[in-house]
Symmetry: D2
Subunit: 161 residues, 4 copies
């Protein structure tokens, strides 16, 4: 895990509660025709964050024969735009984990919040699209990063996804 430093918290205006983070700079190819970062670019940064975060927890993307995260749904809400060469920070964490799926939360920071995103991912073997249970050690690492088991979030507590 590349843990967020106090210097990064101050520099990018990050809210408390994030550990995994990396720095980037807006590329020319991230811009749209009005010279703002295109809203699709954020999903690419979230993807890098998810891959880096899972690798930091011991589960790098390997190949299509090894189960890994496949996005079931994702969203982003945008607070402010970024311009060319702006430095920014990407943060990621797990919100909850179930039996075969988990939800991640992402944020982009530059002088405070730029955008916030979510994704629900299923643990899937890409080759044959078969679902697998999340490995125990992955769940333990997510819990250590602050994630909740999903059943604890659902009224009645019995739901499993």
């Amino acid at each position: 895990m590349q843990p967020l430093t106090n210097e990064q918290v101050a520099r990018y205006g990050v809210e408390p509660g994030w550990r995994y983070a990396f720095e980037r700079e807006v590329r020319w190819s991230d811009l749209d025709g009005f010279s703002h970062v295109n809203h699709c670019a954020h999903f690419g940064w979230f993807e890098d964050a998810r891959n880096g975060y899972l690798e930091a927890l011991g589960f790098p993307l390997v190949d299509a024969d090894v189960p890994g995260p496949v996005i079931k749904e994702t969203s982003c809400s945008y607070e402010r735009s970024l311009s060319f060469r702006s430095p920014f920070l990407v943060t990621a964490r797990t919100k909850w984990f179930g039996t075969t799926s988990f939800q991640m939360e992402y944020a982009i920071w530059s002088d405070g919040l730029i955008a916030r995103g979510f994704a629900i991912a299923v643990w899937l073997r890409s080759r044959d699209s078969q679902k697998f249970p999340l490995p125990d050690s992955l769940c333990a690492a997510m819990a250590a990063d602050g994630a909740q088991p999903r059943q604890s979030l659902v009224p009645g507590g019995a739901a499993k996804t």
Copy 2:
């Protein structure tokens, strides 16, 4: 408007209720390292749908000095993956329109539903990030496509965005 034809409805397995549509084919550059369409590609297709739809309603993207749609939030949920060269259909419609914002819904079809997306857009002049009221003729065109005025969707009916 490029209206959905009966032939397209049958060919792509489209649910009723959509009018605006266009056909595409999966490009090599849409694929990720496991040979599936990357989940970010869908947001690019939705962007093309939004631009084409608004142009069809009489409001093409012009330049940074003319108000147009800026994405405030967007989401996508994925049902099935697409592979290289798969033909697919993109559909778009407006769900609601408020004073300065509106919500669009999108779907991707290929032998039935592939993915469904939403976006809330604000009517903004890009040059100075100033919000503008949605033009009456745009609201009328959205209503003619089945969209609801937003206040009619909110309990009490007085909310404006």
Copy 3:
């Protein structure tokens, strides 16, 4: 092969000598921060042209276990820029074919020439990076499209690549 029609020749201002062609329109995501098509977009169009052209000749991209084209070098020269929503035509043909490699030429047309590109591709099995001879039927199809055997282009005529 999707052969170039007389209507396309007239509409896009195409020079004689091209057969394979398809039409496109500039996407919002093709633009850079100055509202011109980014010069990288052309290489994506050339890629689509190469894949479509080879499929038209009977050699679609299949998977990493089947030999196919891998780019060894490529170039593009730009005559004029394209703006948002501009319709354009992409053309492709083979210049020469050798033992395990061939050269393709591409062009983009919209009111005359927009850009011209070249690529030398090697016939490679992606899984293990092993080179294979170009299939005879592929060479025959390229020759039928006007391509020259490479040795006929080289002084002495003995060179093979």
Copy 4:
């Protein structure tokens, strides 16, 4: 300028003669369907190198009203492929400068040479596509980085571009 360090030279296997350099890592979005870096990604890295290099020489991209580099032609030749998460180094330098144009050379390094590219850029005001002479201070900075005035490269020495 972010000058190449001895540590980088050793780590990435860089040939002598380069000064400007930056490090990157292969992103998931750089891969094609066969899990290799797509050959288009290199042009995006070269673009970042050109922008960063010119900024380092005192000429950052500003806006469409200020003359800057517009690509007239570009090429890349590929030695080896890169896979997911591979770290690599991008280097850039100027080969020659003329009256209104210059040629840059780029290379990608990871355990030796991965790819090499060139681009001829024209100094253009994007708003109205008007050419401008290269500023003297830019030429001086390019010369200090090892670039040749173009006329010195041409037989007779009188050519100007």
